[in-house]
Amino acid sequence: MNDTLVLYQELTHHLRHAATPHAAADLVLAAFHGDQTLDAVLAGESLLPTPEAAEVGGDTPQAFLEEIRVAGFRGIGQPVTVGRLPKSRLTVFVGRNGSGKSSLAEAVEYMLTEDSLRWAQRPPAFRDGWRNLHHRSAPEIRLGLRLDSGEKVTLHRTWPAGTADLDASTLTTTRDGMELPPGQVSQWTGNAARYRPFLSARDLERVMTAKPSELYDAIAPLLGLGPLREADARLQRRRKVYDDRVKAVKAAFTELREQLGKVDDDRGRDALTALGTQAGRANLTRLADLARSDTAASEEHAAAAARRLTEQELPDLGPALAALTDAETALRTATGTDSGAAHRAAELLRGALDLHRDRGDGPCPVCRVGTLDPNWRTAAEEEVTRLAAAAEAVRAAQQAYANAERAVDRLIGDIRRLLEPAAAALATHLPTQCTAVRDALAALGPGPATWDRVTAAHADLVTAATDWLAQRYDAWREPGAAIRRWVDAATRVYADAPALALLTQARTALDKADKAIRAERLGSFAAQSNRVWQKLRQESNVELHHLRMEGTNNTRRVLFPAAADGVETNALAVMSQGELHALGLAVFLPRACAEASPYRFVIIDDPVQSMDPSKIDGLAEVLRDVALTRQVIVFTHDDRLPEAIRRLDIEADIRQVTRREGSIVEVRKTCDPADRYLDDARALVAADIPDEAKYLMVAGFCRSAIESVSMDRYRAAQHHRGTPYQQIQDALGGIHTVKDRLSLGLFGRIVPRPELFARLDRDHGTKASRTVQAVAKAVHGDRTMPVAAMVANTAALVSGLR
């Protein structure tokens, strides 16, 4: 099944198991799907039940290695083709140092990764050696891969002939014979770096040489938790948006408090009270009101008075005062010095006229000289009319004066009613101007000077009030806007709170699930490592515990807890070179064989290096186990591993790699050295070589075949009896002649020649002892048996000895 789908199901399982609330679980799964789905679910849409296969990527194919063809690359000159690699089973390439086997391994590695660990950490000179100088034609590497679907994929990399530039190659990929355009080459071919199906000595050394973080990075991708990390990153990105808003509101809260603290009026103090000491508890409604109105409650009165003061015209007392003065002047003129006399004369004349009407003509009662007659009467009546008119004028003047006086009084009242409250309201803010106004008002009377004083004081007060208002407005404009902004931001954060809480919950749930899945997967990886180590460990006193992955970012590392002779320690500190090598295998072999890897093959270059003989048996067993499910291709520089494979009866395909002058590399398949020697002997019999030389060589191969089968027989028997490995090796190492080796193989010890020959003839036919003697003598040039017969007899003896 697809890895991502498996991970998705594990995640679903863990979320359910941990009883994660639905909303949070949905969010985690949506984040796993991708950005779009996450945004949709955050926006309130519901989550699809399972991801579409297309959305998470198709199944990974499984690739087996079928054929390797290399020419002109490193130690390989003329083209070498290694074909018919068994699909599951162990294939071992045996060759001496410099025989070209590592070149084969590196060719595969370079093909798939376009790099080689062997070169990556070396000076450029190492890299320059990629080209084989014995090969004049175009270098090439061709890999034949067979997919589990049955399709054949061929990767073919060629370089122009004569180029020294490693990067000048072109890669063509064919699938079932059809060439794929460069863009369509499957993704999985790029996964080689992740799973590294190559284990070179350099890979194995990485447990010691790599930085802790590099080792971590080498193992982490195997756990396949990348999609979880990505999902977490998606959640985190969205959470950060909210977090940033909260942080911004908190930061702005502090700033706002500082800013309001500097505003020296009650509005600032009111706003501070509404803000409180915690951003989360601020009274947003009150703050919004404060921001909108530009006045504090306590100053509303003064501000209103000031505004009225500046808006209203002061009534003009001037004309009324002038009218009063005029009325006074008119009155004074009308009531001159003779005004009383005229009045009295009029009264006297009215009395005389009344007397005249009653008595008729007669002497004047006042002067006694004049006479009251009709002429007098006419004149007297005119005089009385004139005097009455004059009296009327005085009364009118009196009336006008009274009117003017009332007008002035009314205006003064108006002015007082206007200014006194304003002065009182503003007294605390503009004390000087208010006092001046009040004093002027107190002194205000009919005198024009008092009025001038009032107008001057009023003008001062209006100017001051205008300034005061403007300054108040300016002082509040900034804080007011700041409060509005903060209230807006805080309102949004309050609205966000449920989403933020959900995201936080989702991340916690994901983290928990991640830890659980990681532990499970690492556990299985560590268990595989441990199994490999147990096999390889053999006589080592170091007991490896489950490896651990710790830390994050710069502190990430892999730990190998171990016990040496029962004492807890770090494996790297106590292990020998060979043990570290084995540890490298224990760590990297499970990685190369990860279930998720598209590579069903693993290539191991020289795993035997610096291993104890006893560890090699363990290695052979490890390789056998891996070969049950993987194509295992091993390159080794000595015969110890093939020998262990033969002795432990492990099914394997063993091929020998030899390199001649001129970088001619030959790969020959062989199951057993004895068979190989016999094949060589047969080939020589047919070859066009002078007889003396031919006899010597054929006999030599026959001897080697007998020696090989005898030694294998001795080794297997002793191994079966439980003889320590080294003891077997020592016994074999001390024996040099074919007869002694045969003796060991047949009897387990050296026996006298007659006894040996008798046993040979008894058990393996009468020709057996003759053949052995003929072979032994041949090295000195004695020719006692035809070469064809010698080979046939030897073959019979060899199969009898098996």
Binding site: D639, R660, E661, D688, A693, M697, E707, S708
Partner: protein
């Protein structure tokens, strides 16, 4: 020294021109070269001391060579014989000798054989006197 059949066959094998010889060549070359060395020593002993030459075991003959042909040549011949024998025998865990090693041994062989043949001429008189 005339090129013997063993040496020339070895050269053909080294050059890779013998049809059918496949990968058989490294070990076979070693045998041929060793035989070439043994023949040169036989020629030396046949002249210097036929009694010793009749012994079939090579080891005493090589040890005695130091006395008869001088320590340096004795050592060189001893080492060469040992190296070629080792390459020619089947050893557990060891693979065939490489082309480079063979070429070096071949050069050494030519030198040693020439020195052995010349020693007969130079030192022969001393022994007969």
């Amino acid at each position: 020294m005339s090129t013997s059949v063993y040496l020339s066959t070895a050269d053909l094998l080294l050059a890779g021109v013998i049809r059918g010889a496949g990968g058989a060549w490294p070990r076979a070359c070693a045998w041929l070269l060793r035989h070439e060395l043994e023949m040169a020593m036989d020629r030396f002993w046949a002249w210097a001391c036929p009694d010793i030459g009749r012994t079939t075991a090579q080891r005493p003959k090589l040890l005695l060579l130091r006395h008869y042909a001088g320590p340096e040549l004795g050592c060189r011949a001893g080492y060469l014989w040992w190296a070629l024998s080792r390459a020619g025998h089947h050893h557990p865990y060891e693979l065939g000798i490489t082309a480079g090693e063979l070429a070096r041994l071949r050069t050494e062989l030519i030198d040693v054989v020439a020195l052995l043949d010349r020693a007969q001429e130079r030192q022969g008189r001393a022994f007969t006197q």
